[in-house]
Symmetry: C2
Subunit: 332 residues, 2 copies
DNA sequence: AGGAGTTAGTTATACGTAACACTTCCACGG
DNA sequence: CCGTGGAAGTGTTACGTATAACTAACTCCT
């Protein structure tokens, strides 16, 4: 290799192949049919190969006025769930020649005031998950195409949601069918629409059944936090079933129960939500609502691609499924 | 949309403020001291504010020939560990005005042949974690600045590693101190340098102690896989302690032990590695080597920034710490 | 034979920014 | 009163690409 000083440009390829830069662009952009002969095209490709040419994406983005890059805003990446959402979104994106860059909002990383400065990339669109309305409107201000995950469809905009309402239905019917009447709801202490929905729906469903009682406790989403919250809540009231907003909360309930000498499920049935790996690691395996995080991400990305395509996709709802395992049983 | 609004450019700001585009660039680029008066500068800033001006990153990247974006290549994002690495790397990056884009390699997403086409961004550098040598050399071919995580320092290049050797030392000393002599090593069935090191180091350490036996089993990194592998391995040989390459493997061992009627730790001590949330969710809580994933990511990013700065950082090793919990006890 | 149509290209330009080189104005020292 | 130098800008260019507009040669039809 004689040079290797600076990366080769399309002009270098052109020189090597003995054609104009425009011809290189045509051939490598796959828009050469009928414009360049097969032999010349092959010569160009060969030249590009020997020089190790890679198109300069910054230049291409500038020229085309679009970047084929979208931003995925997630509340946290520390659990499998949003990692799964990313994976699904990135898979679909990659299939369409798009890249996905992450912005773990809001307290996570960098200046929360400006997601777009932090994600250094130039963006074509945004997928925002479970965001506070305030942060959302900041994004809206930039009037980039936007798809919202886990957000109130009534607020307008394109939304993709898991059918959480149906998940809560499945949980309550399962537990009511096992004879449970005294419930504790261990909710997530996070101001997010999806958690409000869970609380509302559970309350509404139980209210319809005579003789039920429901108490509510809240905890940050962590095993340790849930353990403390559950221990406090279980010391007074004695429910026969605990419905948790998240598998991690359920794991905390297991630990609290053990401390209090309660056996799961003999003395206490427990349900979770998400179906993380954690759910089958603990003993007994957790009855939980399986949320397909990757599918969630895929649908979100598909919706955004549709928006970018000028379509107006209708709100999508993704079915969920109750996995009945060993943590729930007939009331004693 | 009322009208097809196109985003304002620095020229629009210039017109609004009654100055030249060059002046705008100077002011907004914070390079105006002594070149533009304070009053004019303020006028420019005001104009930018009212127009909602955002610099076009594609244009800036093209002009500057650098993107302030780096690629983080991770084997999988499905567990907290690499999510943590990302979080740490992104935190440091953001502090220096850099963005981080992810490439979950290799079978994960998109055409594994070309990480750079998949991550649509133009890149300044790469942090590659636990990669097969083959994929690494493909990256090297692009001669982008590269930092390797979890890779053999002897192979050359800039590396940042967790001090796994010391972690294994702590585990073996702990178990030997408790009187254990018959071991099972449940290794990860993944061709990665870091796992080879664990196996070698464990073997070497035990060989030095008279009267020890060590058997090895391998499993893919998943609870289910580990359960099966452990059940098979424990049926023949009966160790008193199982050393696992990963907390998820340890969780699988718990399940296998339960199936075989073995109590942890009374009949079987178990250790993990990583200290995921999982480690304290299972009962008894797992004795495991705490790896600080976020610190790992931070150090990796710092090393890459140093390389981009023209420095030649020496290989870094990050200390690890054994968390002794309830899954290990004195041999019966 | 004379255009119309096709093939195989080339030339020129614009995308938005940063920065170099240049100009103008003015104060001030000798 | 001229020259010097700093302050406060402006004009211009280049980064590498994609594409619209143009050209030149050939083929073919009537």
């Amino acid at each position: 290799m004689p040079r290797a000083r600076t990366r080769p440009t399309s002009r270098d390829v052109a020189r090597e192949a003995g054609v104009s830069q425009a011809a290189v662009s045509l051939v490598l952009g796959d828009k050469w049919r009928g414009r360049v002969s097969e032999t010349t095209a092959e010569r160009v490709r060969e030249a590009a190969r020997t020089l190790g040419y890679r198109p300069n994406l910054a230049a291409r983005n500038l020229r085309l006025g679009r970047t084929r890059t979208v931003l995925l805003v997630v509340p946290a990446l520390t659990t499998e769930f949003f990692a799964g959402v990313y994976t699904g979104a990135a898979r679909v994106a990659s299939r369409h020649g798009f890249g996905v860059v992450l912005y773990p909002s809001p307290e996570g990383i960098g200046p929360a005031r400006d997601p777009f400065a932090s994600a250094q990339a130039a963006l074509d669109g945004v997928i925002a998950s479970s965001m506070a309305a305030e942060a959302l409107s900041a994004i809206r201000g930039d009037q980039l195409p936007l798809v919202m995950l886990d957000s109130d469809p009534a607020a307008g905009g394109v939304t993709v949601n898991l059918d959480i309402t149906d998940g809560v239905r499945q949980v309550t019917e399962h537990l009511l069918g096992l004879g449970h009447r005294r419930f504790l709801h261990l909710g997530a202490d996070v101001p997010s629409w999806t958690f409000e929905v869970r609380a509302r729906e559970l309350e509404a469903r139980l209210r319809r059944v005579a003789g039920t009682s429901l108490r509510t406790a809240r905890s940050p989403i962590s095993i340790k936090g849930a353990e403390a919250a559950a221990e406090a809540a279980l010391s007074g009231h004695r429910p026969t079933a605990v419905v948790c907003d998240d598998d991690q909360l359920a794991a905390g309930v297991y630990k609290a129960a053990r401390r209090l000498g309660l056996r799961v499920p003999a003395d206490l049935s427990v349900t979770g939500m998400d179906d993380l790996a954690l759910a089958t690691a603990i003993d007994p395996e957790l009855t939980t609502v399986r949320l397909d995080a990757e599918l969630f991400g895929e649908r979100g990305m598909e919706a955004l691609l549709a928006v970018l395509n000028g379509e107006k996709p209708s709100g999508t709802s993704i079915p969920v499924h109750l996995e009945v395992r060993g943590s729930t049983t007939r009331v004693p």
